[in-house]
Subunit: 341 residues, 2 copies
C-alpha cells in the first residue's frame, strides 16, 4: 500500500509568526514526507479564504519540486472554472519539466458557493466552464502542432504550449468521483480517481471494485494504485486526544457541508462521539487501530491512500512511517486475481 | 555598479536534447550567476513562440527561488493584458514569500502583434487592459482588507489575496520607458525603470538624469540603482567571433522591429558592421572594450546594468565576473552630487 498526503489544511497562517513561516513549515513537512517514504503530496487550491489556504498551488509545487527529488507532487484539485486553460497548461508543463515528470494533475469544477460569488461566476455555469476548460487544457497539453480554438468562453488562434510535458502524452489526470457511473467514467477515460474521505471501508472497497471493473471493460490493466482513497488521519495517544480528534472530525464533516451529504441521508450535525467512533471512514485512533483499519482497506484491494493529516508535523509522519506503514501489507487482492495484471 | 541578467533568449530548446535539458541548463546558469556575484535575473514571458521562450515565468522563478538564496528574481516583463490580475497577484505574493522577498515585478502591456492575435485580444485594447489589470493587481497585492472590484474586464466580490507579500507594501515595480515624460512618470510613482538596450551611452546617461531629477522633484531620494539599463552583452576573443557578434546584433535589432525604431529614424535593416561597431549601445568586444564602455556609463551615473548575454554559459559569466566587474568602478557621479543623497 502506498501513502500520500492530501493537503487540506491552512498553510499561510499555520505558524503564528506569519505567512512566510507558515509556508516554510509546510515545505519542510513535505520534505520530511519524502524522506519518510510517502509517495506523494496533493495540494488543494482555494481563494480568498482569509485563513491562509494555498491559492497559487502550482507556484508552491514548483518551489517544492526544487527541494525534493522523488515524491510525486499533485493538485487536488485545480478548480478549472477559475483558470485560463492555456495559461494553466503552460504552468502545468513547466511544473512537469521542473519536477522531472513528478506532477499529478487533479482537476475539479469547484463546489464552494462563496468562491463562485467572489469570482463573479454563476454556479450554474460551473459544469459548462469546467468541461470547456478541461477540453482545451488537454488539447494544449498534448498538441504537438499549432492549433486554434473557439468556444463559448475561450478563443485562441494559432497557438502551441511550451515546454512539452515530460510525462507523455500528459501528466496523470485525477478526478474526484463517488457514484458508480462517475467512477466508471473516470476509469474508462484512462484517468485516475480520487475517492472521498467519508465513504466507509466497505463503500470504498466497492468503489475500487467498480473502478477496476471499468478499467477491465475498456481493456485497460486493472490497477488499484490509480484509485486514491482519501482518508482523514488523526493519530491519538490518549482519551483526551481522542475526544479532540472526534470533535475535529465532526467539524470537518460539517465544513464539507453539502459535499458530505450522502444519498442515504448522512447528517454530520447529529453525529455524536459514538457515531464518529462507529464510522470507519476516518483513520482516528492509536497506530494499532489505524493499522487495522488500513489493513481492511488493503485486504479489499485498496493500494493507495491519501492522508489528510490533522497534525501536520514531522512527528506524526514519523509515527505513521515507523508504526503503521510497515504493518499494512498489500495482499494479493481477490478483486484483482481475475484481472489481467 | 551592479549587474543583473535580463533573460531574452530561448530556454526550452537551448539544449538540443530537449526542453527539460534546456530548462536545466538555464537554471544552472542562474545559479552560476548568483555564485559569481550577479545581482539579479529578470525573465521574459512570451507565449506560443515555437522556439522555447519561457511562458510561465513565475513558475520557473519559484523553482529558481528554491535553488538560490541571494540573487534577486524578476520578470521583464509580465504582460498584463494576458492575465487575470487576481490570480496573477496570488502567484506574485507566493513567489515573494517563497523567495523571501527577492522578487522584482516588471510589468508591460505587450508589443508583439502575433501574441495579441493568438490571445484574440485586439491590440487597440492593450493600454486599457494594461491599466485596468495593473490597478487591480496593485490593489490585490496591497489590500489588507477584503474588497470588491467591478470594471470593464474584471469583476470580483469580497476578495483578499493570500499570502501577503514579504516586501511591503509590495515587491518593487519595474516598467519600461524611453521618452522623458514616460521616465519621469515611472520615477514619480516611486517605481523603477527599465531602459532599453538600443539607447546610446549618451542617451542612456541623459535618461538616468531625467529619472533622478524626477525622483528629486517628488521628494524621493535620487537613486540610480532603480534605473535598470539593459544592454546586449557579447564577449568576443577574435575577429571571427566579432563578425558573428555583429551579425547577431543586426538580427536582434531587426527582431526588436517596431520597438527598436527611434524617433530619429533608426533603421536596423541598413546597419552594416561599421555602423554596429560605431553604435556604443551594445557591449560587444573584448573584456577591455566592454569594461571601457561600462566605465563611461558608470561615469555618467549609471549604477545598474541588466545584461542580455549572447552566450548564456558559465564561462562567459566567469569572464565577466573576473575580467570586467572588478574594473568598473561606480564613481561619485556628478549627476548625483547636487542631489540629496
Amino acid at each position: 500500500m502506498k501513502f500520500g498526503l492530501f493537503g487540506g489544511g491552512k498553510v499561510g497562517n499555520l505558524n503564528p509568526l506569519g505567512d512566510s513561516y507558515g509556508y516554510r513549515d509546510f515545505i519542510r513537512y513535505i520534505i520530511d514526507a519524502e524522506e519518510l517514504g510517502f509517495e506523494s503530496a496533493f495540494l488543494v487550491e482555494h481563494h480568498f479564504t482569509g485563513v491562509g489556504q494555498v491559492s497559487a498551488s502550482l507556484s508552491l509545487l514548483c518551489y517544492i519540486a526544487a527541494r525534493t527529488s522523488r515524491i510525486r507532487l499533485g493538485t487536488a484539485v485545480v478548480v478549472l472554472p477559475w483558470h485560463n486553460p492555456v495559461l494553466l497548461a503552460e504552468q502545468i508543463t513547466a511544473l512537469d519539466v521542473l519536477s522531472e515528470g513528478r506532477f499529478d494533475l487533479g482537476v475539479g469544477r469547484g463546489y464552494r458557493k462563496n468562491e463562485f460569488d467572489s469570482f463573479c461566476v454563476p454556479m450554474s455555469e460551473a459544469q459548462d466552464r469546467y468541461t470547456e476548460c478541461f477540453d482545451l487544457l488537454m488539447k494544449s497539453l498534448t498538441s504537438k502542432e499549432r492549433f486554434s480554438h473557439h468556444s463559448k468562453y475561450w478563443n485562441f488562434e494559432d497557438i502551441i504550449v511550451e515546454p512539452a510535458p515530460v510525462q507523455q502524452p500528459h501528466p496523470p489526470i485525477w478526478m474526484a468521483a463517488g457514484r458508480p457511473e462517475g467512477i466508471a467514467y473516470v476509469a474508462g477515460c484512462n484517468y485516475n480517481v480520487l475517492l472521498d474521505q467519508i465513504g466507509s471501508v466497505d463503500e470504498t472497497i466497492e468503489r475500487v471494485r467498480v473502478f477496476l471493473d471499468a478499467q477491465a471493460a475498456k481493456g485497460l490493466p486493472r490497477d488499484a494504485s490509480r484509485c486514491g482513497v482519501t482518508r482523514a488521519l488523526h493519530i491519538v495517544n490518549n482519551d483526551e486526544e481522542r475526544r479532540k480528534a472526534y470533535a475535529r472530525r465532526r467539524e470537518t464533516l460539517k465544513n464539507i457541508g453539502e459535499l458530505a451529504k450522502k444519498p442515504g441521508g448522512f447528517n454530520p450535525e447529529t453525529f455524536d462521539d459514538a457515531d464518529i467512533a462507529a464510522d470507519d471512514a476516518a483513520l482516528i485512533g492509536t497506530p494499532e487501530e489505524i493499522g487495522e483499519r488500513l489493513q481492511r482497506l488493503a485486504d479489499g484491494g485498496v493500494e493507495y491512500v491519501l492522508l489528510t493529516n490533522a497534525t501536520a508535523t514531522r512527528e506524526s509522519l514519523l509515527t505513521f512511517s515507523e508504526k503503521i506503514m510497515p504493518y499494512v501489507k498489500s495482499r494479493p487482492p481477490a478483486l484483482r486475481a481475475v484481472g489481467q495484471r
